[in-house]
């Protein structure tokens, strides 16, 4: 057995939530995707529906092969093609981890410590990620158990503190450009939930892998995420106004910086770091772990440990090498590039696998 640990459904939900929340607390790219005005929050709210649709193949696949990860599914009935798909997935996981890692480093160098080389932050996060991955899934899940309430609580606290600067009128007019762009926005936003793939990789390690559990996990995750996500967007837009909010590189951080209550509760940037560094850490280590786990499943290894350090080194190198600058990183994570790219992995391959499984009558509830 590659991974002996077992995690609970709640821990998985927490992992998914933390992992997804690191993006809106850093760059919030949704602000510039359509409709790119004060209706963005509606797009965020509506993205639940396309997300469910997009996640469906992965969930169906997980239901059909309860004991298998998506990589193992590839191996099971896709032959050589499965190997290629599996490798692509490993790339995708690693790529994801690298992007998050880089984003965290960029935020650190932009805001907190501009004179420190980027690679120091990358290595700093990478080292704790390596130690987390070495300890396995169960330890990461326990960390998520502790960190998720902290991250969610931190976000709520910050939003609560800036409420007095918020102006509801900034949300009007509602549906300025009609429903079309909002739906478009909902669609382009939804593939940001790459965390669906965590589910399809980790579902076999749930301590209660009943099919109903997986759907339940998906529902809870989407519920919590949508609320938090919409709350962040609403707060940012109401405080800064839609056009200025788009202008900020790190809108949620700027939200932290303007808090000033009674001249005492002010300059609370530290809260941002306190909730955000652990968030980044969970996200990077989970995707890094998935890459390591996936590769060892693909290669039929008995243990994934030997892969940890090479992959970790690759991760750091990748995150340095992938982008020249923050601008390049932002360009990549804009919806024009990111949405189709992520969609292939979130929906495309799982759908392909599921259809193939249906046609070849592999898997199923009985087995």
């Amino acid at each position: 057995m590659l991974e002996g640990g077992r995690i609970t459904a709640r821990q998985l939900i927490f992992i998914l939530v933390i992992s997804r929340l690191t993006v809106p607390t850093t760059s919030l790219p949704v602000l510039v995707s359509p409709p790119a005005n004060q209706d963005v929050w509606l797009a965020g709210l509506l993205s639940v529906i396309p997300t469910m649709v997009m996640a469906a193949p992965a969930v169906l696949l997980a239901l059909r092969f309860p004991g298998l990860t998506i990589i193992q599914c590839c191996r099971l009935f896709m032959g050589k093609a499965g190997l290629v798909i599996g490798l692509l997935y490993i790339w995708f996981f690693l790529h994801n981890a690298a992007i998050s890692l880089r984003l965290s480093g960029e935020c650190m160098t932009s805001v907190y410590m501009p004179e420190t080389p980027l690679v120091v932050f990358l290595l700093g996060v990478a080292v704790i990620c390596v130690s987390a991955v070495r300890n396995g899934l169960e330890v990461m899940a326990r960390l998520a158990d502790m960190l998720c309430p902290m991250v969610v609580g931190g976000i709520i606290l910050v939003i609560g503190l800036v409420l007095k600067e918020a102006d509801v009128q900034a949300l009007q007019p509602v549906l300025e450009d009609g429903l079309g762009p909002v739906f478009h926005g909902a669609f382009t936003t939804s593939p940001r939930l790459v965390e669906v793939l965590i589910l399809s990789m980790v579902a076999p390690y749930l301590n209660d892998p009943k099919p109903r559990r997986i759907i339940w996990i998906m529902a809870w995750t989407l519920g919590i995420l949508t609320i938090m996500f919409v709350a962040i967007i609403l707060a940012v837009i109401m405080v800064f106004g839609a056009s200025q909010a788009q202008n900020y590189t790190f809108p949620f951080l700027s939200l932290n910086r303007i808090v000033s209550i009674a001249d005492i509760i002010e300059r609370i940037d530290a809260i941002h770091l306190v909730m955000w560094v652990p968030g980044i850490f969970i996200k990077v280590s989970v995707f890094y772990y998935l890459a390591v786990l996936g590769l060892s499943q693909l290669l039929n290894l008995r243990t994934y440990r030997p892969l940890i350090l090479p992959m970790g080194a690759l991760l750091v190198v990748l995150s340095v090498w992938l982008f020249d600058s923050l601008v390049a990183l932002y360009q990549f994570t804009q919806y024009q590039i990111w949405t189709p790219y992520a969609l292939v992995f979130i929906t495309g391959f799982p759908l392909l696998l599921w259809v193939v499984a249906l046609v070849t009558k592999k898997g199923g509830v009985r087995q």
Partner: protein, 535 residues
């Protein structure tokens, strides 16, 4: 990183375990030698064995009038209650046996049986045919009686020695609650427990550990509540130990803990019988060691170092508040110097302006970087503390004068360190005393965090904290995750973590440990004025 070291050590221990097996050569007592029926042989053997032991007393005598039976007793001076020995052992055998001739009914019986049944007026009397066992017992304070022609020895439990009485422990003070503490005598300690839990299910299994010291170690648990696997595991790990001597339970702790290289303790210790009893009732196992008042409790979770006996004796609101204060103190004592370093040398923008100016004024002209200052002051504080502990009581005053006046006041006046730093160090120290159960872990982590913070600011601090968290999450104590019930989260168990729920609401034992027999008491015992019951 810690996890890694821990694993390495585990592997190391596995390696060590293999050659052990049976008692090693150097042991003076090897089991299996029978007691000879010939008294002279026995006497010779005992004499050889205890040849240069001046505290060993061998007394030969004869029993009866007619065909007198030769016998001798052997005991260790100082370990035996002489009144019992003289009045209930020597007197019946030497005098009474002469005065009252054996009556008819006992004529057919053998002398030893006769002695056993009607001569020795002591409660604790055992018989062993194993010579070494007899010697062992003598060394533990029993008196051995050898009778000619009898291939066995009587062991008379007439132990009695000078011992410290039951006193209030100096640490783990309580305002409300039992004040008695364990003593150095194992039997006294087990009796203290037995007095608290009057239940046949309270099991006390003893074993001897230590090649030379042959120290008695008792594994105590409450059958039916405890998880048998943990008891088995504890016994296994104890049996594996092959050590010269056990002088304190700390010796054993280091052999049985899960993560030997972790700064955090995975085996708890306490001096208070009520604490041990409470932990037994939760389903934990206790290990008592003869010769020390410190009992070990297993498994030990992080949260236990934030719980204090008094929490459970005082009213729940205050107990809850104090528990939060303790958590805050833990955080402060670990992180406050590091936070200070971060704020003063990296993120001055996070200090409110007016405070910033005050701090800036106090930092003006201070020669050392804040990180160095914090490290030095941290070490100075540890020195003061150690000195305070070791100093004889009467000179204790000197330490406070040197510490407070010279190091604190004068260093600031001389401009060696900033006045803020002194406040931070004082705060660190004071909050450290609040969570004294973790003081060793805290001191190490504090220095690590100061270094990280001094190098990388808040990022370093966060990396350090997350690193500590990873380490904590990877720890287990006898199979139980160390951060239970926070990570993995067990919402039901938070009743004794986030708050201290009233006793009538704590209907179930902690799930991680007491799942075996979860129900502590029936629900619905919330008190109220009469006539309110139907609510």
């Amino acid at each position: 990183m810690f996890g890694k070291i821990a694993r390495k050590l585990r592997a190391f221990r596995q390696k060590q375990k293999q050659p052990a097996g049976g008692l090693p050569q150097g042991n003076p007592i090897s089991s299996g030698q029978p007691v000879s029926a010939d008294l002279t042989v026995n006497l010779q053997q005992v004499r050889t064995l205890f040849s240069q032991s001046s505290d060993m007393i061998i007394r030969e005598f004869r029993i009866g009038t007619g065909e007198q039976v030769r016998a001798f007793i052997v005991f260790v001076e100082g370990l035996v209650d002489k009144t019992i020995l003289h009045g209930n052992l020597l007197k019946p055998l030497m005098l009474d046996a002469r005065l009252t001739p054996p009556n008819q009914g006992v004529a057919g019986k053998r002398v030893p049986d006769l002695i056993k049944e009607s001569a020795l007026a002591v409660g604790d009397l055992r018989e062993t045919g194993d010579f070494n066992q007899a010697i062992d017992a003598v060394l533990s304070g029993d008196t051995a009686l050898f009778i000619d022609g009898h291939g066995a020895a009587f062991l008379v439990g007439a132990r009695g020695w000078e011992a410290r009485g039951i006193e209030t422990p100096d640490i783990e003070m309580v305002v409300r609650g039992p004040r008695e503490g364990f003593t150095e005598t194992l039997r006294t300690n087990t009796s203290l427990l037995r007095r608290k839990i009057k239940n046949p299910n309270l099991k006390i299994e003893t074993m001897k550990i230590g090649r030379q010291t042959r120290t008695e170690v008792a594994v105590v648990y409450l059958k039916g509540v405890v998880n048998d696997k943990i008891v088995e595991e504890v016994k296994q790990r104890l049996k594996r130990i092959d050590i010269d001597g056990v002088l304190e339970s700390g010796y054993l702790e280091e052999f049985i803990e899960d993560a030997p290289f972790s700064p955090f303790a995975t085996v708890g210790n306490t001096e208070k019988p009520d604490v041990v009893a409470a932990k037994l009732l939760e389903g934990r196992v206790a290990v008592l060691v003869d010769g020390t008042p410190f009992a070990l409790t297993i498994p030990y979770l992080l949260i236990e170092s934030l719980q204090v006996a008094e929490d459970y004796y005082s009213r729940p609101f205050y107990a809850t508040l104090i528990r939060w204060i303790r958590l805050l103190s833990f955080f402060l004592t670990v992180a406050s110097p590091a936070i200070y370093v971060v704020l003063v040398t990296f993120h001055q923008e996070m200090i409110p302006t007016s405070l910033y100016r005050t701090v800036a004024a106090s930092r003006e002209g201070v020669p050392f970087p804040a990180a160095v200052e914090a490290l030095v002051m941290g070490i100075v504080f540890e020195i003061l503390r150690e000195a305070g502990v070791r100093l004889p009581r009467p000179v204790g005053q000197a330490i406070s004068i040197v510490g407070a006046l010279i190091i604190g006041e004068m260093a600031v006046t001389a401009g060696l360190i900033g006045s803020m730093m002194v406040i931070v160090v004082a705060l660190t120290a004071i909050s450290g005393f609040v969570v004294s159960a973790m003081s060793d872990a805290v001191a190490v982590l504090r220095l690590v965090l100061i270094s990280l913070a001094g190098a990388l600011g808040q990022f370093g601090l966060m990396v350090g904290l997350v690193g500590i968290l990873i380490h904590l999450a990877s720890l287990r104590s006898f199979g139980i995750p160390y951060l239970t019930p926070v990570g993995p989260l067990t919402v039901q168990d938070l009743k004794d973590v986030v708050i201290r729920a009233p006793w009538w609401a704590m209907g179930r034992r902690p799930r991680a440990i007491g799942w075996h027999n979860p129900v502590r008491q029936e629900p619905g015992q919330k008190p109220g004025p009469p006539g309110d019951e139907e609510k």
